[in-house]
Symmetry: C2
Subunit: 254 residues, 2 copies
Amino acid sequence: MIGADLVVLCVPVGAFAEIGQVIGPALKPGAVVTDTGSVKQSIIDSFQEWVPESCSFVPGHPIAGTEHSGPESGFAELFENRWCILTPSPDTNIKAVEAVTKFWEAFGSRIEIMDPQHHDLVLAITSHLPHLIAYTIVGTADELGDDIKSEVIKFSASGFRDFTRIAASNPVMWRDVFLNNKDAVLEVLQRFTEDLTALQKSIRRGDGKYLFDTFTKTRSIRHEIIDQGQADYKAPGGVVQEGTPPVVAKPATE
Amino acid sequence: MIGADLVVLCVPVGAFAEIGQVIGPALKPGAVVTDTGSVKQSIIDSFQEWVPESCSFVPGHPIAGTEHSGPESGFAELFENRWCILTPSPDTNIKAVEAVTKFWEAFGSRIEIMDPQHHDLVLAITSHLPHLIAYTIVGTADELGDDIKSEVIKFSASGFRDFTRIAASNPVMWRDVFLNNKDAVLEVLQRFTEDLTALQKSIRRGDGKYLFDTFTKTRSIRHEIIDQGQADYKAPGGVVQEGTPPVVAKPATE
């Protein structure tokens, strides 16, 4: 018997069925179980059945973290002002949802309740596709000859290094994400490929207007992210500040 | 007549032919001209012919900068410890190359001399492809319905926001880069697409081993970039530090 009132599972998405089998029968009656997995529907499908009637499962996903993993990579401010998405089924004990909400709010998180399948689609675009793309481009560079590879590393400050950060994320965690959110990832990947093909064609044809129009549209999303305090802003002087930049330093619009 | 001994051109790559026509005849005899453009061969092709016999053109590319543009986005430490690539032709006056070298070293830059076409290939992978990919993924998100777009912004901390930073770069500058480095960009884009297709297939087939192996390989490049001091390292506590992380905070290897 596990004596805990609240159990927080922080393991790769593919491990939940096995963990459910082991801990399900040992949960204390009335215990609340939550998790931090990056895919929600597949975890519900593989884990919910092992949770005893008297216990509650409140699936969760804190949208925070770095490319580093393991307990030693944590720090006190990690969840401050970051969202945590909970995807309980409509018949979950409301007190259990409240307990998990309070848990995350104690770290400074903001809570969003969401349908698990909708979560998986939103995260496919905001997280799973970006990671897939980053892994791909870093892998493409890795397969170049050794000469050019050393130059890629040397001159990475020109854009490439932004991709290497997320491509350094935990391989087991990300393998499991893609295996368990296949449909949503393939759907957004299809859209991405169509858009990339259109840009490729415009480069081949020398269509400067299409390039300019595409590159102009994308700026506004960045500004909205900064305005909502979800991005660090590197101010002149190189000092990283959280949230809204001072007006004087807003991007030049040429 | 321009009285300057050293002229530094900081304009979009597509503007060099026109600028050459205007300033070429007005350059002071013996003047040294350099530039900061992101593509080198096309600038040489369109600008060199306008430089008088008595003057020297030393093409340059400082590998530094943020997504912000314009003079007001500069700061004193911008070039410190960053590379600046010079691509002079073999018959350039050595004193002119030395003058431009000293100019950049005064800002703290390190100098690399390179063949212009080789520069364009290296930058196609380290800079032009990453920007193209970032513009694409942010554009893909932008075309989603308004409901899901607001959620993408809200939950961007999960990976997406890293792409929005470089996709907020100057559209005129980047239009000109792609129009003027077409062959190298299309070449590396082809390799990228092949690698992405292979990952897509492995997701569709549920090939966890291929995913795991790919995601493992890519970690080492990040560590080399950090070791070479070309990446900021976000230490536990959220404080950004330059260069090598303390040993205790190295990424967990699970």
